[in-house]
């Protein structure tokens, strides 16, 4: 059976690229070292493919025809989409796709009762995929990607329970449908607290962010599912903070594991709290317990 060898959650605020140079040194250090750590963990884990769950941000679909999950099946993924270029301030990139894994994922989720959409044409990527791709230098690492764009903001929003169940199906798919010995990396891209387009556009809820980072690093998923409600995320930044549902999908796939973060920082111009968590995929393994 295939194995999840890397699992992380990380924010993708566009400022992490376009406004990074202008940020104070301590802020910049946290951003750069966080993504550098994630990239080297992915390399150390010898990942064969990276599946990224990330908020679609209404970039690909009309608001009256809005899917909850949209899988990118393309041979290669090019970004960012034209209109987002000046806004992100990011280089153009081309990342290898994994069309067969994407098709298997689509079929596997379908068979597990989860409605997803899938598209063979290149998706429109904004900061959701562009920021982690550029900051981890994914194209240079050569790891193929399957992007899954997720509805985190268009009601009715699949809530933490639904996203966790989707993650459980994802984990089951990876372990049972993918080729034996395939090594899979999972990234939940989004958050932390922010309110893009809202009256509190510059609001960052530091207390929420620290609570959330500690909670997901603890591996206590019962508390997570009970307390990470849409209401709580909306209160910590409407329409943005709920991107953390992409982390919840990853957590559903891996089950309870401890994690660590690489520092938390608040910088007003980013309009978003910054902190990432890498989960320890070697924890809770029977063979480790026995050692």
């Amino acid at each position: 059976m295939a194995e999840i060898v890397f699992a992380a959650g990380a924010p993708h605020a566009p400022g992490l690229i376009g406004l990074l140079e202008a940020a104070p040194a301590d802020v910049k250090d946290i951003v750069v070292s966080t993504y550098r750590n994630l990239a080297s963990a992915m390399v150390s884990a010898k990942a064969d493919v990276l599946i990224v769950f990330a908020n679609d941000h209404l970039a690909n679909s009309r608001i009256r025809a809005y899917p909850d999950f949209l899988i990118g099946m393309a041979n290669e993924h090019r970004g960012p989409f034209e209109w987002f270029k000046p806004w992100i301030g990011c280089e153009d990139y081309t990342v290898k796709g994994a069309p067969e894994i994407a098709a298997a994922l689509f079929n596997g989720m379908t068979r597990r009762g989860i409605r997803m959409f899938a598209q063979t044409e290149n998706l429109k990527f904004d900061d959701n995929i562009s920021v982690p791709v550029q900051l981890t230098r994914l194209a240079e690492l050569g790891i193929p990607m399957v992007p899954v764009l997720q509805n985190c903001t268009v009601p009715p929003i699949p809530d933490q329970h639904r996203c966790y169940a989707v993650g459980e199906a994802l984990g089951d798919f990876i372990r049972n449908d993918l080729p034996a010995d395939m090594r899979v990396a999972l990234l939940g891209s989004g958050g932390l607290s922010h309110e893009p387009g809202g009256a509190r556009y510059y609001f960052i809820d530091e207390a929420f962010d620290r609570w959330f980072l500690d909670l997901v690093a603890s591996g206590d998923h019962a508390t997570l599912l009970k307390e990470l409600t849409l209401e709580k995320m909306e209160a910590a930044g409407s329409g943005g903070t709920s991107e953390l549902l992409s982390w919840v999908v990853v957590l559903g796939a891996i089950g309870s594991k401890p994690g660590k973060n690489f520092g938390y920082t608040v910088h007003r111009d980013f309009k978003c709290g910054v902190g990432a968590v890498l989960w320890d995929m070697d924890a809770n393994l029977p063979k480790r317990r026995a050692a």
Partner: protein, 102 residues
């Protein structure tokens, strides 16, 4: 000012998506905004709010805030740290009570 008022039936959502997706439409919008607005089945109050850059009114009608942020950038500028900062500040000014920021 969150998603409680969200009304996906509003045509302004389609206008914003099309502007985002088409360089040509953006050029036409800049050159002749009224002609572009004519192509969408906007309500009268909806059109007036777009014309007067009244984001507060649009949000009260049910515009999705994420697309509201993008409409501000489509109107006021989209470059990191430059036009986009103007756009964010104008948007916040409107939403925090000023209404029209034309």
């Amino acid at each position: 000012m969150g998603l409680e008022k969200f009304d996906p039936a509003l045509a302004v959502h389609d206008l914003i998506q099309d502007l985002k997706w088409s360089v040509e439409l953006r050029a036409e919008f800049a050159a002749n905004e009224a002609a572009v607005l004519d192509c969408y089945p906007l309500r009268q109050d909806e059109r007036r709010a777009i014309e007067t850059r009244n984001f507060l009114a649009l949000y009260d009608m049910g515009l999705h805030p994420y697309l509201g942020g993008q409409l501000a950038r489509l109107i006021f500028g989209n470059e990191a740290g430059k036009g986009a900062t103007v756009a964010v500040n104008k948007l916040v000014e409107s939403l925090q009570g000023k209404g029209s920021v034309a």
